[in-house]
Amino acid sequence: MKRYLWFALLFTLLTASMAFSVLAQGSSPTDDEVNAIAKQLYCPVCENTPLDVCPTLACKEWREEIRSMLADGKSEAEIKQHFVDYYGARVLAEPPRTGLNWLVYVVPPVLIVAGAFVLFRALRNWSRPSDPEADTASDEPQPAPDDEYIARMEADLKNKR
């Protein structure tokens, strides 16, 4: 609880400092405008809960901060950057595309493509030694038992044709 209180205090101070500009601007952004940005942010305390649905007091204060920044005429990018500057990259839903973080985006596709390549090679190696005529040859093993009726049905369809 204590750390929530600290956060609350911190946020209150931060938001208070902006209060004047809010008053000056007059109109207050809607909850939906606030949530549209909050959805993309994660507070450092509540793990893996997006800011727009986080019920803690700290997150409520964050949302108010977004609201006052919006009222200030700040853009979405500016607001997100503001939180990153204060609390680090972890507030973003995805790591920023810089430095080591590139790994998170590069490694899976590389591995998947490598896997696809290995699979393709293996399939080709498997199919090559066999006679190309094998496709039509009848040296197939007996149809597996589950396919008993399917085999019969296929024969049936062939006859019909």
């Binding site: 939906d32 995805e94 589950d146 369809l157």
Partner: protein, 686 residues
């Protein structure tokens, strides 16, 4: 006193388990069937022993023995009796014991089977499963003792297994109570289901290792464990679905799945398990992919332990929590050791596991199954990397990062789409040989009506191309599946001169794996409809309303009537319940009651949605904030979740499909017929 006894029983169980490992190992090496039999009996003894220990723990939980720290942590006087029983798996120590208990039950069931035709596996199945059991018991014995009690010492009150010198026993007045999030019915069944899934994957793994050690290279191990694997997969799937339903009902963020690392931890063994479930069929039908199946089951086992490790060690909140928790490094070491040992065994046997037949065509069913495997493993790679990367980042640069839903969705959506396409194509391809021509001939009929679906959807106003592709794929898979079933039943009808429905029933009941599988494919498509609906078309709005005011969303009007707050002292909860009226296009639909529940004992708050659910859409209303009616208004958040109900309907169809596929046969050991027609041969053809 009783707690000490419970701990003593656990200690004895641990010794018995170690005994069964050693005796089984030596029995096999020395060729002594007496020793193996002794190991088997020792193994069988672990189940009643752990049950006794668990029974004692439950007794302590039910009778409010708060001097036991585990009881203090997960129960309180206000909790009803059934929740005190289920609190058994509501905390770290208890859930590890629960894991061990399930594993012991499963291993006992497997050692009780008839072993005539694969006796050589028995000692190694005991060795593998008992080592796993011993590991979990050791976690309870040395690090997370559910029977530890509170003592007051010079340095304060803490939980100890044995009374410290000069320690005075302490009994708190009341417990902290189960985390209210875990008091939901879904959460009562969800962990056992997941654990059942996790634990039952140990059995096929044990058989796989037994096959590797004994050098038996046929498909015996996959045949024996086929049902185990199916059940394991069923439990794991149900666990995941129940978890989703629980999140939807209780977590109050309008969704069912948030790509949270804890969710992914359970999803990863499901992915490799699903790949295994498919590729094992190729081994049975064609004698191929023996290496690959070994790799998959080893991977699944490692991921099962890894999943338990991720959720239990605290590593996810911070790598430093990992270092602080005692069990984290132990899990890590255990995963490493078992993985390296299994892979070494596989390398050793690699040359013996040659394929019996060759791949004939890139369009054969086995080729499609391999592609299916590649895709499942691709999702696995994305998930694994997404979970691991924040840990790597924190370790190497000290920078904490979040890998959240956008990452997973972007990467996995196309893979899932391809999987759906494959789900439609693969069932129509033949084993062994298949050409573009034969495949095309089989596919065009169901494809045409499936194309109508996105066209109609487009005409109805859907312009999102992802949705249109998704709807096409769903229709494609469903039509292919129905068409193929129809073709089969027609063929049988003609061949046997039966009524169509009789033919359909007999066809399905004699090929339960195939047609149960089809039903599961259809269920997946129904679930896909729900997922497409909520992921692509969810809308939301939030606003603070004065009494009588309304919010509008997607044709719905939600009017705030009143709010009331009261304490339920007996349950230890403060309820705040709002009443809202729901209208659609001016028509009154009813009242909904979104709630905020605040639990005194754990100081936690839950946001329970007011939910109106139809086949078409869900209206999901949250009470975000409120002031007493006189002082102002209440803040509501409303989600409109189109089609999401199909996710749950799909889950029910899935369950039906699984039951159909894996329900025990009258013949306890069905042996597939290699040749001849509809003769059910007894145990001989193997």
């Amino acid at each position: 006193m009783l707690a000490d006894f419970g701990f003593g029983v656990l200690a004895v169980t641990f010794i018995v388990t170690i005994y069964s490992v050693v005796t089984a190992f030596l029995g096999d090496r020395r060729g002594s069937s007496e020793m193996v039999e002794s190991a088997r009996r020792a193994q069988l003894l672990t189940f009643p022993l752990i049950s006794l220990s668990a029974g004692i723990l439950i007794y302590l939980l039910v009778t409010n023995q708060f001097d036991v720290s585990f009881v203090y942590e997960v129960t309180s006087r206000g909790m009803p009796a059934y929740l005190r029983v289920t609190a058994w798996w509501g905390g770290q120590a208890g859930s590890l014991l629960f894991w061990a208990w399930l594993l012991s039950a499963f291993t006992s069931a497997v050692t009780l089977r008839k072993w005539e035709r694969d006796r050589e596996f028995l000692p190694w199945v005991i060795v593998v499963s008992s080592i796993t059991l011993a590991f979990f018991l050791s976690m309870n014995l040395f690090f997370e003792n559910p029977f530890a009690r509170f003592y007051q010492t010079a340095s304060g009150v803490a939980a100890y297994t044995f009374q410290p010198a000069g320690g005075i026993p302490v009994t708190p007045q009341d417990g902290r109570g189960l985390n209210p999030l875990l008091r939901h019915p879904g959460m009562i069944i969800h962990p056992p289901m997941l654990y059942l899934g996790f634990v039952s994957f140990v059995i096929p793994f044990a058989f796989a290792i037994a096959a590797l050690v004994t050098g038996r290279t046929d498909d015996r191990w996959t045949r024996v464990t086929r049902r185990w694997t199916l059940w394991a997969w069923t439990f794991l799937s149900l666990g995941l679905v129940l978890g989703g339903r629980w999140a939807y009902d209780v977590l109050g963020w309008g969704g069912y799945w948030g790509w949270d690392p804890v969710e992914i931890a359970a999803f990863m063994p499901w992915l490799s398990g699903t790949a295994f479930l498919h590729s094992v069929m190729i081994q049975e039908k064609r004698g191929m992919l023996k290496h690959w199946n070994m790799i998959l089951i080893i991977l699944t086992y490692a991921l099962v332990i890894f999943g338990t490790f991720l959720t239990r060690s605290g590593v996810l909140s911070s790598v430093h929590a990992f270092a602080q928790s005692a069990i984290g490094p132990m899990f890590f070491a255990f995963i490493g050791l078992t993985f390296i040992t299994s892979v070494s065994l596989l390398m050793w046997r690699w040359p013996d596991l040659k394929s019996e037949t060759e791949m004939k065509s890139m369009l054969s069913r086995e080729a499609f199954f391999l592609l299916n495997n590649l895709l499942f493993l691709s999702v696995l790679v994305v998930c694994f990397w997404g979970v691991i990367f924040p840990l790597i980042s924190e370790l190497t640069t000290g920078q904490k990062v979040t890998v959240g839903p956008p990452f997973y969705e972007r990467a996995n959506a196309p893979i899932f789409g391809t999987l759906m396409a494959l789900m439609g194509i693969a069932p129509l391809s033949a084993w062994g040989k298949s050409t573009a021509l034969t495949l095309g001939r089989a596919l065009w009929k169901p494809t045409l009506p499936a194309l109508l679906v996105p066209i109609l959807a487009y005409l109805a106003g859907f312009t999102n191309w992802i949705a249109l592709t998704g709807f096409f794929l769903v229709a494609f898979v469903i039509f292919v599946t129905l068409f193929d079933t129809y073709r089969g039943a027609r063929a049988r009808q003609r061949a046997q001169n039966e009524h169509f429905l009789t033919a359909l029933g007999r066809l399905a009941s004699r090929n339960r794996r195939r047609y149960g599988g089809y039903l599961i494919h259809i269920s997946m498509m129904l679930m896909a409809v729900g997922i497409l609906g909520i992921e692509l078309f969810q809308t939301e709005t939030q606003g603070t309303l004065a009494q009588g005011d309304s919010l509008q969303l997607s044709g719905y009007q939600v009017q705030y009537k009143e709010v009331a707050s009261w304490d339920d002292q007996a349950a230890g909860v403060n309820y705040t319940r709002a009443v809202v009226e729901v209208y659609k296009d001016g028509k009154w639909l009813g009242e909904l009651h979104p709630r905020i529940d605040h639990y005194f004992d754990s100081q936690q708050t839950m946001t329970i949605p007011g939910l109106r659910s139809t086949l078409q859409d869900d209206l999901y209303i949250l009470l975000v904030d409120w002031q007493p009616v006189s002082a102002g208004g209440a803040t509501f958040k409303i989600y409109h979740n189109p089609l999401v109900n199909w996710l749950w309907i799909g889950s029910l169809v899935f369950l039906a499909g699984m039951l159909f596929t894996s329900w025990p046969d009258r013949d306890p050991s069905p042996i597939p017929v290699r040749a001849g027609k509809h003769v059910r041969q007894p145990a001989a053809a193997d």
